[in-house]
């Protein structure tokens, strides 16, 4: 792809889109410099919840939860460190907890802060940290697990979804891991975990072929030492960044993982470079990153309630993943509920776009090449159906709304 297209594509795959102004500046810097800048930005103090109340109360009201959800979506739209925030979003759908069970907003926010702060670094260290993360201890029942009667919930998902994948462990490993992980607990709404020795079974276990596993550190060490682990991470990252990939691409990313201190940022950056060279397939944007990109492209804001209700209707409310597997991806986002909800959100954004915004101006000009350019999709990419629908739109705002739900914007 040409450099002009590539700059926007990078930000759609591993960032959160760009406004027309940002896009212009990024194109001026060029692909290599832009990618280097993007992946090296430190999230630092750029906290999504700096200006909202984050209740620790497990009985927080719906309004309090809506505010926390809305603040994160707002942040995704304006963040100056979009790579770190996109990775945190990726991790939220991978190392899953949900406010539906970990009911305290503060616990969930604390976990997302962990993903923002540590998500770009060593993945084994992140796995270790999330194992005793308070929201995770609540969500997958670690806090209730004791040596006298271990709870298998976390131990199973650690192996299946977080570190190895199905087929690389047995039921005995699930049971042994659950036993070794006992003892960690947290209180309702607490953002710190505590280790209670009297709840822990320190008996050495045979786990994933390793003897002597007896605590959280040795469990994580054994899991990440399993030969299936690097390819599991590589495949998971590739799915997010590249869509469908061939096995050799997974192998190359697994090598990158091992050769770069097992840092996730290295794998993701390598994946996007492979994508620039043609690896992978088209990717359907999930509702949340799609909304962040659409907002960035239009400069429009929406009330938190509208965001939460619209994303709920679309099937993706941040901090409330449906289950430990996270959200389904790909063409699952073509569900009719999602189609309708995206259209309504797009109409609300178009209605809220400033009259002099360059994207709305492009829509008003009926120059569809210009409109595509400002939306960060390749000029000339609107197909016959989209072209006809946009030219038929009764007014510029409707044209803008339809462009935001067009396959060319939703699929990248």
């Amino acid at each position: 792809m040409d450099d002009r297209t590539a700059v926007a594509w990078i930000h759609r795959r591993i960032g959160l889109g760009l406004s027309p102004d940002q896009l212009g500046a990024a194109r001026a810097r060029g692909v290599d410099a832009e990618l280097a800048d993007l992946v090296s930005a430190d999230p630092g103090a750029n906290d999504p919840w700096a200006s909202v109340e984050v209740s620790a109360d497990p009985k927080a009201t719906g309004a309090q939860k809506t505010a926390v959800v809305g603040a994160w979506v707002d942040h995704l739209t304006v963040t100056t460190t979009p790579f770190a925030d996109r990775v945190a979003w990726l991790l939220h759908g991978w190392l899953v907890s949900s406010m539906d069970k970990a009911r305290s907003p503060a616990q969930m926010v604390n976990q997302i802060r962990l993903f923002r702060a540590a998500g770009l670094g060593s993945f084994p260290e992140l796995l270790r940290a999330v194992t005793t993360d308070p929201a995770m201890l609540v969500y997958l029942d670690g806090r209730e697990s004791t040596g006298s009667a271990p709870n298998e919930n976390f131990g199973r998902e650690l192996l299946e979804l977080f570190a190895l994948g199905v087929g690389n462990y047995g039921e005995a490993d699930v049971k042994a891991g659950a036993r070794a992980l006992t003892g960690w607990t947290t209180g309702a709404g607490e953002v710190t975990a505590v280790f209670r020795r009297n709840r822990h079974d320190d008996t050495p276990q045979r786990y994933l072929g390793t003897d002597g596993v007896h605590d959280v550190d040795t469990v994580i060490a054994a899991a990440v030492a399993h030969p299936a682990h690097p390819r599991f991470v590589a495949r998971r990252v590739a799915r997010e960044v590249l869509g469908t990939v061939e096995d050799p691409v997974v192998g190359r990313l697994a090598t990158v993982y091992d050769d770069n201190g097992r840092r996730l940022d290295a794998v993701i950056a390598a994946a996007v470079r492979l994508g620039l060279d043609g690896a992978g397939s088209s990717v359907v944007l999930a509702p949340v990153p799609w909304l962040a990109m659409a907002r960035r492209s239009t400069g429009a804001t929406l009330p938190a309630k509208t965001v939460a209700r619209g994303l709920g209707a679309a099937g993706q409310i941040p901090l409330f993943p449906p289950n430990v597997g996270g959200w389904p991806g790909g063409s699952a986002w073509f569900a009719s509920a999602t189609v309708v909800a995206r259209a309504n959100l797009a109409a609300a954004l178009a209605a809220g776009t400033a009259a002099d915004h360059p994207t709305l101006a492009a829509a008003g000009s009926r120059d569809l090449g210009l409109l595509a350019d400002r939306l960060g999709v390749p000029t000339g990419s609107f197909g016959p159906a989209t072209t006809a629908a946009l030219l038929n739109a009764p007014d510029p705002r409707q044209r803008l709304a339809l462009a935001l739900v067009s396959p060319e914007f939703v699929i990248t």
Binding site: G62, A149, A313, F334, I411
Partner: protein, 422 residues
């Protein structure tokens, strides 16, 4: 003004999540779906007629030629069969010292002393006593997998491999191209069991929001759908858009007020109320999937079951109450599914871990009533209820009920258990 959104903070695990809009609108969001059930013909206890066992037209229903309907209620997370259908077995009580349903609370079922219902399921008793309810114990694949996702996938694809289409896709493919858009409707999140066909199911998550902000917006979305692009993914997006516009229009014709008034804390009840509207308006064979989560009860199981089973019982009894009133009950076969049962011995968190054999319920005048499947708590599989009834027994009955080609869909029939009246 947009309604406010509330997040009922309930202790669910894998979950269903509801959005309630002020004004009483309900959004049911759910998550995994699946499963099935079914039944088939038999003598109608209402009019004594014998339905056509292969056919699309049932014995009764609202109007001549009214077609058969399959309603699938997926209980996501792995429902504990031993709590729903409580065995009168001391070994159950020994294994569940804190969680066993007290004997005095177990709801007796006429005709059996082996099992009773969880007290929160008591509203189902009238369906049982009228011969419109069956339970299948020990349901599950004989070589169980304790992963939610592997198990769900096997249920969805009738255990025919990771790339097989959903088990209802073959039937969907036989429907005429101009079949109504609500002919396959998933209330909740997604409907993998309906996947794999060119015909996309209609999915409704928030019933109050399943409409375009303006008619012109819907018209515009419809225009984006045609002509279809060469790129298959783009074409799939376009097909979905066209389908969605049609579905929204069909949905607008339903009497939607009832479901909108239901307490959003009762997602199954809300989903089944909406399902009843879809079924009442159906003019051809129809499948509706209602899925809801929270059944992954690793901890705090007793309180969770109380809430979930009350919702389930209210939803099912309410559905059939509507069906009886509106005269479509005879067209309906309803089945519950869940990806697995739970460990027999409770864990230390007042919960139960992933297990194997579970329980499915089937409802409707066509079901062979009573308890099917015999489990033995003295012969466990790695601590779990040994699966004794293949889930495809449900599919065979369901496909029979719909008049579908069972062998084409499943490769063979599975009728070790006859779930429909013969």
């Amino acid at each position: 003004m947009s309604p406010s959104v509330s997040f009922p903070g309930r202790p669910l695990s894998r979950r269903a999540f509801l959005v309630a809009a002020a004004g009483g609108v309900v959004a049911v969001t759910i998550i995994g779906c699946e499963s099935d059930q079914s039944g088939q013909s038999g003598q109608s206890p209402i009019d004594g007629s014998v339905p056509d066992s292969t056919g699309a037209s049932g014995s009764a229903g609202s109007g001549a030629g009214a077609a058969r309907v399959l309603v699938i209620v997926e209980l996501d997370g792995g429902n504990d069969g031993l709590s729903a259908l409580v065995p009168a077995d001391g070994r159950y009580r020994d294994a569940r010292p804190t969680l066993a349903v007290p004997e005095s609370d177990v709801v007796a079922l006429a005709g059996t002393t082996e099992v009773g219902l969880h007290p929160a399921l008591a509203p189902l008793v009238p369906l049982w006593t009228s011969g419109r309810m069956a339970a299948v114990r020990g349901i599950g694949f004989s070589d169980p997998d304790r992963s939610h996702f592997v198990s769900l996938d096997r249920w969805w694809r009738a255990d025919q491999g990771g790339t097989a289409p959903g088990w209802l896709s073959q039937w969907l493919g036989t429907l005429p191209a101009d079949a109504p858009p609500l002919v396959a409707t998933s209330i909740g999140g997604r409907a993998p069991l309906l996947a794999g066909s060119d015909r996309l199911p209609t999915t409704v998550i928030d019933s109050s929001a399943f409409a375009f902000a303006t008619p012109a917006l819907g018209d515009g979305v419809a225009r984006l759908a045609s002509p279809l692009a060469d790129d298959p993914l783009v074409a799939a997006a376009q097909t979905a858009m066209a389908r969605s516009v049609d579905a929204v229009r069909a949905f607008a014709g339903l009497k939607s007020a009832a479901a909108d008034q239901i307490d959003p804390a009762d997602p199954i009840t809300a989903g089944l109320a909406l399902a009843a509207q879809v079924v009442a308006g159906a003019t051809g064979p129809t499948v509706v999937v209602v899925s809801s989560g929270g059944f992954d009860t690793h901890a705090g199981q007793a309180a969770t079951h109380q809430r979930l089973y009350a919702d389930l019982a209210k939803g099912v009894s309410g559905f059939f109450s509507t069906a009886d009133t509106q005269g479509f009950a005879d067209r309906v076969l309803m089945v519950t599914t869940s990806e697995f049962g739970r460990r027999v011995v409770e864990n230390g968190s007042a919960g139960t871990d992933h297990g194997a054999g579970g329980v499915s319920f089937a409802f409707g005048p066509s079901v062979a009533p009573g308890v099917h499947g015999a489990i033995d708590l003295g012969d466990l599989l790695d601590g779990d209820v040994r699966p004794v009834v293949d889930p495809r027994v449900l599919y065979t009955a369901s496909l029979d009920w719909l008049g579908a080609d069972v062998e084409a869909a499943l490769g063979q029939r599975y009728d070790d258990v006859a779930l429909l009246r013969s």
